[in-house]
């Protein structure tokens, strides 16, 4: 099952490599990974999506918790949560395609953030399925380049992951 694990990490050199190293060392799988400092500059927030049986996920969270630099973590998929991913995509946009792409972008509530005579650069945010859906809708033939940020997530309601 797919899980989103959110981690508060000491913002120190080498901390990220410990997390990544743990996954490869113990044969766990990383699907996406995002990391950036938080409003507290001593902490980074790292979000990793992974798949595995309940037993494997339990080991992943326990092993992550054992890393000295991991301050706190939560498996967001255990409760209601919001997940977002940002995608920038360059699409071939010539002739009649231009209007069609514009319409599709509007339907997906994306934005065209850069334009040339033959290329649109589109920005789109949403859960991973929505981003997949957009690519499908415009058709891979017209896609020149895709960059995705990986998943970020946060719990719904009053639950907070903080110190």
């Amino acid at each position: 099952m797919r899980r989103i694990i959110s981690v508060l990490l000491e913002n120190e050199p080498g901390a990220l490599s410990r997390v990544v190293g743990l996954f490869s060392q113990r044969n766990y799988n990383i699907e996406t990974l995002t990391v950036a400092p938080t409003e507290d500059s001593t902490l980074s927030r790292l979000t990793v999506t992974t798949t595995g049986s309940d037993k494997v996920i339990e080991q992943i969270t326990k092993q992550l918790n054992k890393l000295i630099e991991v301050v706190k973590l939560v498996d967001l998929t255990e409760g209601a949560h919001i997940e977002r991913e940002l995608m920038l995509v360059k699409l071939k946009a010539t002739g009649s395609q231009r209007a069609e792409i514009k319409r599709t972008v509007d339907i997906f509530r994306g934005q065209i953030v850069d334009v040339t005579s033959s290329v649109y650069t589109v920005q789109l945010a949403g859960d991973s399925d929505k981003l997949d859906g957009f690519i499908q809708a415009v058709g891979t033939a017209g896609v020149l380049e895709v960059v995705r940020s990986g998943v970020s997530g946060i719990a719904r309601g009053e639950k907070v992951l903080s110190l």
Binding site: G14, S17, Q63, N65, K66, I68, E69, V71
Partner: protein
């Protein structure tokens, strides 16, 4: 406040930490530190002949004393040579701090002479590693390193020290921190009361209980509590290879150790039990055999300081995260208060069954009037040392024989590389023990394969007068490899023979020690007596043992715990 250079702060911090010994080897990036070491006499340095041995020495010291060991090496090859030793300590959760020189911070990343990314290289085999970024940080980094290494589930910590952090002419205010604050590291200090209560209720209601104890009992200094609880309940106890000595082996409630080469009665009792109380062990693959066939009728209570050890391979019915000594203490109190008592009838039937198993195999081996059996060497040593020696072992058949036939009644006396299985561990580990236990008998039980992996340390033994007794069970082959080839590869002995063995007697003499060869059965006991009487000499005892012997019992691969070979021809 005092002004000290980084190197002096480092050594002063070690003094303030109470460190007695450093094991190490100097080199370019560590020279400022070695100079600071020279200008004091509180912390003693032991110069080894290879950095791997320094780590095993620190490890032997830590296992025998329960205190963290300390290693000091230079950058590059000095640091990488420690990796096998660090991995050995990591697998067995041994507290240790490894101080590594590093090229100057201005050179890092430039492929400088003797530069290695030691933080990166060591990462998968350490509990944690730390890098010094400013000389002022040194006291805090050192304090943190020892704190992390020795609390919670212990383990090795590497500290990487760039050369410019220890420059002699830059001085800083020195203050040794009294406390360590780490918001992200808070090992459990007691178990969950509700879970403990539940465990005690299950324990008292069990009809075929067994206690399965591991190295965590020794690391957690909980042998007394374990012994008290086990005696109170009158239940059978088995322990892992790492747990040897956590409960007296000569006591009748003790069934010996369990797993691949454990006793018949231990493995049978585990398989047929209805309740397993696991204390500080981790259901390792050398214990469980095939996990899907593991102890089908047993409910499991698992006590461990490390939550990740619980339900990793075998699911626990009642997990208890906490230090074993504190949890056992609470269990003892609850058993005492409880009105419930173990069902006497069920317990006596269980013991009757166990005694039948015990009588069935009883660690017998086939004796031979002509040939010295490796098992009888260990039995003789056990008798001659009154079962009170420290035994550091290497890895292979001799390790299993030593663990099976030397009955340890005390913790911290069986020193072996259980998790990683590091050949070459035995001699340096024995040296680390002997250094701090000069009046105790310290044996290194080894084989002609393992001993050659760190034989250069005979020179260190001469320099520091470390009269360990090296018991070389010489079967002229890599015995355990050969045994597996006999059993699984139709006796195709691929690369398991050593056809150019040195004359170990002359070799020992060349290093300034005594060598004794034993190859006749009738000489075994008298010559071993003579060897043990040479109190102040390192004696290399080269004993020619049965070349064809196998270690039994041996669990059948991919079977359950009760599926074993009991000899070359009997399979149950």
């Amino acid at each position: 406040m005092e002004l000290l250079s980084g190197a002096d702060m480092l050594i002063r911090s070690l003094q303030d930490e109470g460190i007695e010994y450093i094991y190490g080897y100097p080199g370019g990036a560590a020279l400022h530190i070695y100079d600071a070491l020279f200008r004091q006499d509180k912390v003693k340095h032991i110069l080894v002949r290879h950095e791997q041995a320094a780590v095993h020495m620190a490890d032997g010291y830590a296992r025998a004393t329960g205190k963290p060991g300390t290693v000091l090496v230079t950058s590059g090859p000095g640091a990488t040579n420690t990796i096998t030793g660090i991995a050995t300590a990591f697998m067995d959760s041994i507290p240790m701090v490894v101080l590594c020189g590093q090229v100057a911070s201005t050179l890092i990343g430039e492929d400088a002479f003797q530069e290695t990314d030691m933080i990166g290289v060591s990462r998968p085999v350490v509990k944690h590693n730390l890098s010094v970024r400013h000389p002022e940080e040194i006291p805090e980094v050192i304090r943190k390193a020892y704190y992390i290494a020795s609390t919670g589930r212990p383990g090795p910590v590497v500290v990487d020290i760039p050369k410019d952090m220890t420059t002699p002419n830059e001085r800083f205010e020195y203050a040794f921190p009294k406390k360590v604050k780490l918001r992200s590291y808070n090992p459990a200090i007691r178990g969950h009361a509700g879970q403990i209560k539940k465990a005690v209720d299950m324990l008292l209601a069990a009809r075929r209980p067994i206690i399965y104890a591991g190295g965590g009992v020794i690391l957690g200094k909980a042998s007394d509590q374990l012994t008290e609880l086990v005696r109170m309940l009158g239940y059978p106890i088995t322990n892992t290879l790492m747990g040897i000595g956590c409960y007296p082996a000569t006591d009748k409630q003790h069934l010996g150790w369990l797993g691949m080469h454990g006793t018949y009665e231990s493995n049978m009792a585990m398989h047929h039990s209805d309740l397993i109380l696991c204390v500080g062990a981790r259901f390792d693959d050398r214990v469980t055999n095939a996990t899907e066939k593991f102890c089908p009728g047993a409910r499991i209570v698992h006590i461990d300081i490390d939550p990740a050890s619980i339900s990793k391979t075998i699911d626990a019915d009642v997990p208890i995260v906490g230090p074993v000594d504190a949890v056992l203490k609470e269990m003892i109190a609850l058993v005492r208060e409880s009105k419930a008592r173990p069902d006497a009838e069920a317990l006596s039937a269980w013991w009757k069954q166990i005694e039948e198993w015990r009588a069935f195999h009883g660690m017998r081996y086939e004796n031979n009037p002509e040939v010295i059996k490796p098992q009888e060497v260990i039995e003789t040593l056990w008798r001659l040392t009154n079962g009170d020696a420290f035994v550091a072992s290497d890895v292979g058949q001799h390790q299993m024989f030593a663990a099976q036939y030397y009955k340890f009644d005390k913790p911290n006396r069986w020193i072996n590389s259980g998790g990683l299985g590091t050949m070459g561990f035995g001699l340096p580990a024995a040296m680390g023990v002997k250094l701090t236990h000069p009046d105790d008998e310290v044996l290194c039980v080894t084989g002609e394969g393992s001993i050659q992996m760190n034989i250069q340390e005979l020179s260190t033994c001469k320099q520091y007068n470390l009269p360990v007794k090296i018991i070389n069970l010489n079967n002229q082959a890599l015995g355990m490899v050969k045994q597996w080839q006999d059993m699984n590869y139709e006796s195709r002995h691929s690369q398991s023979y050593m056809e150019s063995l040195p004359d170990f007697i002359k070799l020992a003499e060349a290093y300034g020690h005594v060598g004794v060869r034993i190859d006749r059965k009738e000489d075994l006991e008298p010559k071993l007596k003579e060897v043990l009487a040479m109190k102040d000499k390192l004696v290399f005892v080269d004993i020619y043992v049965d070349r064809f012997e196998h270690v039994y019992p041996m669990q059948v691969a991919r079977g359950s715990m009760k599926d074993m070979w009991l000899s070359k021809t009997e399979r149950v």
